[in-house]
C-alpha cells in the first residue's frame, strides 16, 4: 500500500512534466517570430507585390471594370452601395486567405524539408509546439500588416468611409488568416515536396474566392454549394468583413467569429501534433 501511494504522485508529476515538455511555452514562440522578422527584413521586396499590391490591382480591375458592367444592377445585390465598395471588404478577406495560405506553404515546407532549420530549432529550448505557434503567429501578424495597408488605401480613396469599419475589417482579416494559416501549416509539415501545394491551391484555395460571396452573394449559389461554402472559413470572413465595412446588420455574428476561431485553433493543434510527429522520431 505504501509503495503504491508513494509512486502515484510521482507518476502524476512525471505525466505533468511530460505534458509541459510537449505543450507550447507561454512566451518562447516569440523568438520564432523574431527569426521570421529577421528573414523578412532580407527579402520583403519579394512579397510586397503578392501581399500589398496584388489585392489593390484586383480591386481596381474588378471593382471599376466589372462595376461599370454591373452598373445600375449593382444596387440590387449590394443593397445600395457601389460595386467597388461591395467587393472591397470581401477582397480583403480573400487576400488574407491567399497571403496566409502561401505563407504557410513554401516557407514552412522549406524549413521542414529543404533548409531544415526547424530541426535545429527543436534542438534548442524551444519545442515543436513553440515553433508552430511562432510560425502561425508570424503569418497572422504579416496579414494584419497587409490588411492595415489595404484598409488605409480604402479609407484614403473613399471606398471605405468608416474608420471603425476599417478596424473591423482588419480584425476579420486577422481571424481569416488564422483560420487558413493554421490548417495550411498542418498540411505543409506533412509534405516532402511542394507538389501537393499546386493541387491544393488550384482545387481549393483559388476556387474558394468565387464561391464564398466575394463577388456575388452566396445566396445566388445552388443550395448544396451554399452549405459547402459555409463549411469553409472564407465565407465567414467575407460575410463579417462586408457587414462591418458597410455597417449592415449581420445575423449570427458570433457564429462567424467562432467558425473562424475554430478553424484556427483546431488547425494549430493539428499542426503541432503533425509537426511534432515529424520532428520527434
Amino acid at each position: 500500500m505504501t509503495a503504491t501511494s508513494s509512486v502515484a504522485p510521482n507518476r502524476t508529476r512525471s505525466r505533468l512534466a511530460a505534458i509541459r515538455e510537449a505543450a507550447p511555452h507561454p512566451t518562447r514562440w516569440r523568438h520564432v517570430v523574431g527569426y521570421m522578422l529577421a528573414v523578412y527584413r532580407r527579402e520583403w521586396q519579394g512579397s510586397v507585390f503578392s501581399g500589398f499590391i496584388e489585392p489593390l490591382v484586383v480591386l481596381a480591375g474588378l471593382g471599376i471594370g466589372l462595376g461599370v458592367l454591373v452598373g445600375d444592377k449593382a444596387a440590387e445585390i449590394t443593397g445600395g452601395v457601389s460595386y467597388v465598395a461591395y467587393i472591397a471588404p470581401a477582397l480583403m478577406a480573400s487576400s488574407a486567405m491567399n497571403l496566409a495560405t502561401s505563407e504557410a506553404a513554401w516557407p514552412i515546407l522549406a524549413r521542414v524539408a529543404w533548409v531544415r532549420i526547424y530541426h535545429a530549432i527543436v534542438a534548442t529550448p524551444l519545442n515543436a509546439a513553440d515553433v508552430m505557434v511562432g510560425a502561425i503567429a508570424f503569418i497572422v501578424g504579416k496579414v494584419a500588416f497587409a490588411a492595415a495597408f489595404f484598409a488605409g488605401v480604402l479609407l484614403v480613396t473613399g471606398i471605405a468611409t468608416s474608420p471603425t469599419g476599417a478596424l473591423g475589417m482588419i480584425a476579420v482579416s486577422v481571424l481569416t488568416a488564422f483560420a487558413f494559416g493554421a490548417p495550411m501549416a498542418a498540411f505543409s509539415v506533412t509534405q516532402k515536396s511542394d507538389q501537393g501545394f499546386a493541387f491544393l491551391f488550384r482545387l481549393i484555395i483559388t476556387p474558394l474566392t468565387f464561391f464564398s460571396g466575394t463577388y456575388f452573394p452566396i445566396e445566388n449559389l445552388p443550395f448544396a454549394a451554399q452549405v459547402l461554402s459555409w463549411c469553409t472559413p472564407l465565407a465567414h470572413g467575407v460575410a463579417l468583413s462586408r457587414a462591418l465595412a458597410l455597417g449592415t446588420p449581420v445575423t449570427y455574428i458570433w457564429l462567424h467569429v467562432v467558425a473562424l476561431l475554430a478553424w484556427g485553433i483546431v488547425g494549430t493543434i493539428v499542426a503541432i501534433y503533425l509537426f511534432r510527429k515529424r520532428m520527434l522520431k
Binding site: 512525471s14 512534466a17 511530460a18 515538455e21 511555452h25 518562447r28 523568438h31 523574431g34 527569426y35 529577421a38 528573414v39 532580407r42 527579402e43 533548409v115 531544415r116 532549420i117 530541426h119 535545429a120 530549432i121 527543436v122 534542438a123 534548442t124 529550448p125 524551444l126 519545442n127 520532428m279 520527434l280 522520431k281
Partner: protein
Amino acid sequence: MTDSASTPTALIRARGLTKAFGERTAVAGIDFEVRDGEFFGFLGPNGAGKTTTMRMIAGVSPRTSGTLEIFGKDPDLHGSEIRGQIGVVHQQETLDMELTVRENLLVFGRFFGMDRPSIATRADELLELFQLSDRAKDQVEPLSGGMKRRLSIARSLIANPRILMLDEPTTGLDPQARHLLWDALQRLKRGGTTIVLTTHYMDEAEQLCDRLVVMDQAKIVAEGSPRQLIVEHASREVLELRFPNGTESIDTKVLEGIGDRYERLAERVIVGCENGEAAHARALEHGLDPESWLVRRSSLEDVFLRLTGRSLDE
C-alpha cells in the same frame, strides 16, 4: 541514485537505452557514460544507431525503454532545460540561407533566451574563433562546405553549452577543411567543453576521442580509449596481403599459421601479428603469392574488423 556517488562527473548516463521504430530496433539496450570535459565518440558504420542515440541525448527522440540521464535529468521530462545546455550540430546543414552568417548566430541566441548585447558579443567571439569574421555580412549559400560546417558549430556554441554534440562533423569535407575543423574542436575541448561526436572515420575517432564506444547493429561492441581498444582487440602490427583474384581458394590452415589471427576479406587477407615482416616471410614459406603486401601498425579499423568481421566501408 547511489550510482551518482561513484561517478559524480558523468554528464550523460544511459542504461539499457533502447529505441525501436516499429519492428526495427535502432538502438538495442546500450549502456554508456560521458564524463565532464571528455571527448567522447560513437564509432560505427552507417545504420549502427549512432545518430538515433545522439537524437535521444539531444532530447528530440523519446526513448522506447531504458534510462537516460543528462545532467542527472530525464530528457522526456526536462527536455527544454537540457537542450538549453547542449549545442547540436546536425549531419546535414540546417542553416538559414536567407540570413547572413552573423544573423544566423544572432537569431539562434534568442532561442536560448539570451539578451541581445550578450548574443552580439558572443557571436563576434565565435566568428573570430572559427575564422569567419570577414564573411560575417555575407549570405550563407556561397560559403564553402567547410565554412558552412564551421558556422553550424559556431551557432551551436552561441549559448556556451556544457556539451557539444556533433553528428558526422567532417563527412563530405576535403582533407584540409577536415584538419581545420579538428583543430577547432581540440581547442574547444581544451577550453573545457565536453564533446560527443559520431563518426564512421577511424582516423577521426583515433585523433580526437579520449574515449569511445564502437557500435554495430544497434549495440555497443567495445568501449575504451583508442589506445586501449587497439591493445585489447588488435595485435601490435598488421600484415595486409592483396589477392586480386580472390581469397576463397586459400587454405585456412595456411592462414592460421601466419600470425596471431586473420580476417579473410574478398580480395585481401588481414593478418594480426607481433612482427609484420616475419609474418610476411612465413606467408611466403607457406607458398602464398600475394600480388602486393604491406605492414602497418594496428588501428581502430582493425579493432572494428576484429569485432564485427567486416570492414567499416563495406
